[in-house]
Symmetry: C3
Subunit: 463 residues, 3 copies
């Protein structure tokens, strides 16, 4: 049932030392398929990290479009600033402390607290022209900073999730402060437990590209945030009804989802972490196909259930269904069959729509449906590895619960501290006028004539 | 005149069996340029499929932006849904039946009707750790599913073309139903005749990346669709005049064309199907350059003729000219010289503008000019291979006519059946209020104050 | 302090002839790290050019979104046309004459004036099936046209810079004419001095991916243009105050900057020009990381100083700060350390905001802040190579001044000639009504109700 017997639980690639191709050939001429020479593997692995990593960076643009099109026009610019700000801060924090906490000498729970990260001494020697350093460089399997680059772009994804859920009321600076801590400390510690080789990795926790490690982490932090911040003004009316807050710019929401879909090929494909042999190339191909099938299934499922659950064929449900499918497959795109990918994506798509409905019923205000798409689908995806590919259910549950408890509690505490100091939420006046003009002094679409808030209109018409 | 003596008429790469590099070296030490080792070729070929295929998927976002910016705001969301829906459905259908019909054991006219497609047994064995399977895996030249991925993204392009031509009046579900049949059956059969190695391929039909196979197929299906559906309400007035229906959001139309242009590097570049040797790398480079030159020439030509033909320097003509140039070069970017590419693109650009004018005169309502850009330019590109690179005119004509007759007739029949059952076209009431609110219950730009329909204004002012 | 002892001052890659891997192995079996076989290097180098080059082409979409969102809605379409037009014209001109002037037999100051460029005779022979040509093909290190493709996309960047600075008043055809000369002659001559191996290259001028050669060239030409054209009507009021002209569509401006950021990975990463060995792969990784860190630092710095300098936390400053950081690092991303990249980006970000303020005080109307972002940051970046990596200050200054003097004077003369013939600037009537309706006969957002010009409103309210 599974495409491969075992998924790497640790994200750092360890290449087994191989003999030189040529040497093998001299000894055993008939050995037609000697391993690919190490330096070639090094180039392939490195280039894979860079190309796919660039596509993952592109996902930040996807989140930005999705979110700024989803919020009301009065908050669209501040969403843009939050997203380019979070990407910048996340990258800098991950350079300063995050990567080392996640990957450097991880002893079960966390790596080392060391400032900054950089190329190895051997790499610097090689760049200076010392060819004798090449052996040690190549032994590493990939360029040190290509790995850093690929890991870094994942951090930003986690933060982007929060931005969408808490849109339209969280203060710009409070959000960016949270982002800095998340990228520098919260996420790297989750990473150390798992991809860094820590205790969850040792137990065999499987999460290929981060259904739990990236997406649920973002989802838990977002859930903590929306609970502390509370819903937007007027979202849940005193009479129990829910105010509709439709996307203000549907085409760019759609564009955002296409960007995410494209970027996910890098997110999951690059997470193979290697391209130095036929097996890696085959695996990477299967990963891309599974990623695409799950996303497609998520769209179809979400559209199909949107009519019974939401009362209409809902484009936004369909778009979020794509994300739900993508998040669901992310834990095991290397080990499930293509047909299972479709099933996993279908369930993910349904969960997103049902989750959006559930949160609304619980009066939890998640502006873009990020919690269903990233947290609920992330949990499902991490469990689906067991169903579809024989993962260890107990270990997967342990991982889900441990990461969930840790991230949710720490995020809740951090949001609470922020609330008690600089405040999580903008004032009522700012929220009414919009964060764009209040916090940034601009409008997103200054020349366009906009309607007054629909709720005001409704209230007027009720009089 | 031609860069290469022969273009592959069959899209499936067959690697000639090569001796192991090392073995050759032992026997003939002076053989400096032994062939690249098979496993390396395998990695290069596979990675080329994946990277370029990802860019082709991105074209779906391009069509979405182009189309949703081209239609009136009241139909922009339903275009978004159609496009993400068609990409999802096309991918699933191609997985379920399409690929097998197109490529598996094609006997002249069609492959096998077998459900689902997947990695080879040897690939699964290799992924399970059986290194002895590597020889058979590598012998295939590329990972099975990387090829599937690359072929799959082409299907969606075909469907996207139809979406644009029939915008603003075709029912959501009727369109998606047509898409499913197109991706599962109509397109794969065209593909079986040609890239699958069927009868047209055996006659030497040349269509490198699908001027006819992809673009004209979409164009013929679109033409059948618009003939059955008829023009939009009020597009052609009783007095013979044509109502202008300008794009509602020009910047995203432009963005869409840039996305398509970028994606076309994958579309044509990846269609080299191989990157395992210097000749393939050279060919791929020439392909990208020709693709870019033809597109650039298409822009310039379309802009130049837009003033005499359309009465003004027309941005939309220029943008469509890029697509015309791209479609034109797609049949032979590997075998024409760079200067011929410019000529081919220039003609393609002119044809698009002239074609838009022609369709308008014929009272055929093609919302985005998809039929001129994909069908007319596709025919021209398929013939241009003869002029510029000595292709066989009779064979090319046979291919154009056979594909055209088959697709047009089948599409016409299918649209007719849909019309007689669930209906192709939305009701007059839905068309007037817009598909977004009628079919989806949303507005694309709900906060923006929009003008009443210009035609109503005109009618009022005529009173 | 520096990652490598020397940066290539000449952009054409010269591969040292290497013995065949296999031969080396026979002679010296213990040589585990023989060089990568030439044909493999050829494939890697070529594919790197193509993939990264495609991302650089994508930057043109970034400039288009940035600019069309930054201008008032009445000029957004003409910006789209200028950008797709300039990309087309630049590519054609670079094919016709530009590349040869820049790279063919450069004798100190300029290459040869020869029409068109194309694959080598050996490449054509190889494509025709002549395997004996492979040795000579592979000796070149990369496919001839892959290099052309990568160089071509850089030309368009230079022209895009000018489009933004001179927006909202330069005539469409005057701008496109300037673009043709820039791409065909002005830029290639700068390129010949430097990357082409001319006099500045011989002196050791270091500009890895073009802080001076691309970005300052564009910036100088833009400065000349805005001086000849003058500010937009009403931008600087008689009372000395400055009319705010906020972006009309903030989300697409943000999208544009994300596109540029992504594209810059290709711009700088591809400028390593090679991927044929471990050292190149390591260098490319460092380049991408430095590029990203400098951009992130530019965002943070620009946001931080925007409040004191501009009076508010300014999203546009932050977005332009990203570009400032990116331009700053472009001269030496291969030789500065990661921490220095952050410093370089921080300074670049500050300079952009300060530069925007300075130009405003000088009554120079640069619509999108292109001159601070590309010229000022470009100068800084070229000098920063000395500070951070021991470049030769005198040589760097020579390059900056020589390029600046040449480009500025020639551009000034050319704009002057254009002004005296067809005119640089649209008429007052056209400027007031907007170039979209006056020059193209369309509106960018025809269905949206737009506000009257804010200045008119202000003037009215002052009455």
């Amino acid at each position: 049932m599974s495409l491969a017997v075992a998924s790497r639980s640790c994200r750092r690639l360890t290449l087994s030392t191989r003999l030189c191709t040529g040497f093998v050939l001299l000894v055993a001429v008939s050995c037609v398929y000697a391993a690919v020479e190490q330096e070639l593997q090094f180039i392939f692995n490195t280039f894979s990290f860079l190309v796919w990593g660039a596509l993952v960076m592109w996902m930040c643009a996807g989140f930005t479009m999705l979110e700024s099109g989803s919020v009301r026009t009065k908050n669209a610019s501040v969403i843009c600033l939050k997203n380019i700000g979070l990407y910048s801060i996340a990258g800098l924090m991950y350079y300063l402390v995050g990567y080392n906490l996640m990957y450097t000498d991880v002893s079960g729970w966390v790596g080392t607290f060391t400032l900054t990260y950089g190329p190895s001494a051997q790499e610097l020697a090689l760049l200076s022209g010392d060819e004798t350093a090449k052996a040690a460089v190549v032994e590493n399997g990939y360029s040190v900073m290509s790995d850093w680059f690929f890991q870094m772009v994942f951090v930003a994804t986690t933060a982007s999730i929060i931005s969408g859920a808490m849109a339209e009321r969280v203060k710009l600076w409070s959000f960016l402060l949270f982002t800095a801590v998340l990228a520098g400390f919260i996420y790297p510690i989750v990473g150390a437990w798992t991809w860094g080789g820590g205790w969850l990795s040792e137990r065999g926790f499987q999460d290929f590209a981060g259904s739990t490690i990236v997406h649920s982490t973002g989802g838990w932090a977002a859930l903590a945030g929306v609970l502390i911040a509370g819903p937007r003004l007027g979202k849940f009316r005193p009479d129990g009804s829910v105010k509709a807050t439709p996307p203000s710019n549907v085409p760019i929401v759609t564009l955002g989802v296409f960007i995410l879909w494209l970027g996910w090929f890098g997110f999951n494909g690059g997470s193979q972490l290697a391209l130095g042999g036929a097996a890696d190339a085959v695996a990477m191909s299967n990963v891309l196909v599974n990623t695409n099938l799950a996303a497609a299934a998520g769209v179809i499922a979400a559209l199909s259930v949107s009519r019974p659950l939401l009362g209409r064929v809902d484009l936004l449900a369909g778009l979020n269904g794509a994300i739900g499918g993508l998040v669901s497959i992310t834990a095991g795109p290397d080990i499930v069959t293509h047909s299972w990918s479709i099933v996993i994506g279908l369930v993910g798509g349904v969960m997103v729509v049902a989750g959006m409905k559930l949160l609304e019923n619980l009066k939890v205000d998640d502006v873009v449906g990020a919690i269903p798409a990233h947290l609920f689908a992330g949990i499902w995806g991490t469990l689906a590895v067991c169903i579809a590919a024989g993962g260890n259910l107990l270990v997967q549950l342990t991982g889900i619960l441990a990461v969930g408890a840790y991230v949710f509690v720490v995020a809740l505490a951090l949001w609470y501290v922020i609330e008690k100091t600089i405040g999580v939420r903008v004032s009522t006046a700012v929220e009414e006028v919009g964060q764009d003009s209040a916090e940034l002094g601009i409008e997103s679409y200054p020349e366009f004539v906009l309607m007054p808030d629909t709720d005001d209109v409704e209230m007027l018409s009720n009089k």
